[in-house]
């Protein structure tokens, strides 16, 4: 035998997309405190943007998130276009909203699947991800890519949606709506899911205000905020839709909000496509010669909540400073309220409820013993524990 080699896996590993590190401090079965460590994979995107032209920044910020890759370009477009005060063509507004809402559908389906997996409902996981596939395929047809669509540009969009594609999309939406009915039924009517999620990881409206949490996390606690309605952009003030809220603030309420929001998104896309049909041919882009000196402050409602971009221009062709805030930045700290006081077996679903980027959360959550400070459990074991609890609940209910 030669020398032994140790291969460390994580927090840096090719498989880990965005390493994060949660430390749960436990006393017996109860979580007493929580810490979060980050910076393992800081890409310095704000700094990179300073060396790119305003146009190139779109493609940089698109790569911030792999799941909702259009939400950052959306907020950036709102910010940068506000400096010269560009009014984009109606057709571009509608196409922007269609892409934004399609993304919300696939992101919420992804969440439902993962939440199901965390609870030991792997059928729900398989279903949700299967139904998400046609939505991604639709993205490929409309934009040319299943992810990182590169649709946005200063003053409009880069590709048009013609009638043929619109018809295809409508067909897919009909299908997605039926499948969503199925998922809603599977979640809302299941007594075991009720037992596992109701009253778990509850956040009050005050907690939401203290942390500045946004999106479905806030709306599930009765905080009625949505950038699309409060500060309308793109085509959101041209179509009829409603903001979904729930009062309870627990994990079940968050699931409910996401599932029902999917219906609203489908409805928004249908209305946008109808308006596109009426609009017929038209410009999809306004020419913007230069960005004058000034401040651009823009936000957009991503599937996980408000994305905020702040751009400072000095009249050159690249930003002097570009500040980006993703929704998870203010939602993740709420774990300190939602997990603490609960059992370890509920911690996995509490962290999942906020919809942070899972791949990282799942692999890096670890449980520490409150007294000794020793690591007692990792993320995989934590999820296993959560699934076992569902089994136990199911047996107790005699199902």
């Amino acid at each position: 035998m030669g020398k032994k080699t140790i291969v460390p896996i994580g927090p840096y590993h090719p498989l880990l997309e965005e390493p994060e590190f949660f430390k749960l401090y436990c006393d017996g079965e109860i979580v007493v405190d929580m810490e979060w460590e980050t910076g393992y994979n800081h890409r310095g995107i704000e700094k990179i943007c300073e060396s790119k032209t305003f146009e190139q920044v779109f493609y940089v910020v698109e790569r911030i998130c792999g799941i909702c890759s259009t939400s950052h370009p959306f907020a950036y477009a709102n910010a940068i276009e506000s400096i010269p005060g560009v009014e984009i063509p109606l057709r571009a507004k509608l196409i922007r909203s269609v892409v934004g809402e399609l993304e919300r559908i696939h992101s919420h389906l992804l969440w439902v699947g993962l939440a199901g997996h965390f609870l030991g409902y792997n059928t729900v996981f398989m279903w949700a991800w299967k139904y998400r596939e046609p939505v991604l395929d639709m993205f490929e047809i409309i934009t040319g890519n299943r992810n990182s669509y590169a649709m946005f540009t200063i003053g409009g969009v880069r590709r048009d949606i013609d009638q043929e594609k619109a018809d295809q999309l409508l067909k897919v939406l009909d299908d997605v709506q039926k499948k969503n009915d199925l998922l809603v039924g599977a979640v809302m009517d299941d007594p075991v899911i009720h037992a596992r999620l109701k009253g778990v990881g509850t956040l009050t409206a005050k907690d939401i205000h203290d942390f500045g949490a946004v999106g479905p996390t806030a709306r599930a606690s009765g905080v009625d905020i949505d950038v699309r309605r409060d500060d309308p952009y793109a085509a959101y003030d041209l179509v009829k839709w409603k903001v979904i809220t729930a009062k309870e603030g627990d994990v079940f309420a968050k699931a409910e909000v996401r599932l029902l929001e999917t219906y609203e998104s489908i409805s928004i896309i249908r209305q946008c496509l109808e308006l596109l049909k009426k609009e017929k041919e038209g410009e999809i882009k306004t020419k913007v010669k230069e960005i004058p000196p000034g401040l651009g402050i823009g936000h957009a409602e991503a599937p996980r909540g408000e994305v905020f971009h702040f751009v400072k221009s000095d009249g050159s062709n690249s930003p002097v400073r570009h500040k980006i805030r993703a929704p998870s930045y203010t939602c993740i700290p709420t774990f300190r309220k939602s997990c603490v006081g609960g059992t370890i077996s509920d911690a996995a679903i509490c962290t999942a409820a906020v919809d942070p980027c899972y791949c990282c959360t799942e692999r890096m959550t670890q449980v520490y013993d409150h007294r000794t400070g020793k690591r007692v459990m990792n993320a995989a074991e934590l999820i296993k524990l959560s699934q076992l609890k569902t089994e136990e609940v199911r047996e107790k209910m005699g199902l």
Partner: protein, 148 residues
């Protein structure tokens, strides 16, 4: 919302306000001295229930600009507080006593720009590792200029 009336009322309540400007549609920037920060933050966050968004920090020619972004979700206005800190004394009171969620971003600004937030509950490294060299702040204008 009548923004002129709002600005006038705000100026009457806080006479120390240096300057106000409507940046563009539904965006208000208020320039204030650091001494007024706690009071206005308290008024906005607790009395008017504005939502805390984030804090931006810029190294500009005049000094370090710390911009606190808040949102009035009832009207859709984004309200911004701008505090200018001199280059030779980058220190400001931490707002964690008013806004609980502001803790992370203050630590991040400490890392990237070297601004000291006084009375911060956990003034530790956030983005950077513990062995990141002292005094190296990548978002300062002079950062490794000779390397470029």
């Amino acid at each position: 919302m009548n923004i002129e009336q709002y600005i006038q009322e705000l100026r009457e309540r806080f006479p120390g306000i240096k300057d106000t400007e409507v940046v563009n549609q539904k965006r208000l920037m208020i320039h204030i001295p650091a001494t007024l920060l706690q009071e206005i933050t308290n008024y906005w966050f607790n009395d008017l229930q504005y939502r805390y968004i984030i804090v931006s920090a810029i190294d500009s020619k005049e000094g370090y600009e710390i911009i606190y972004h808040y949102s009035d979700d009832n009207t859709g206005w984004i309200m911004n507080l701008n505090v200018l800190l001199p280059h030779d004394q980058p220190e400001i009171e931490s707002m964690t006593s008013v806004v609980y969620g502001i803790e992370w971003i203050e630590r991040e600004i400490m890392d990237i720009l070297g601004i000291k937030f006084l009375n911060h509950p956990k003034p530790e490294r956030f983005l950077f590792s513990e062995d990141w060299p002292e005094g190296e702040y990548p978002y300062r204008r002079k950062f490794r200029q000779e390397d470029r």
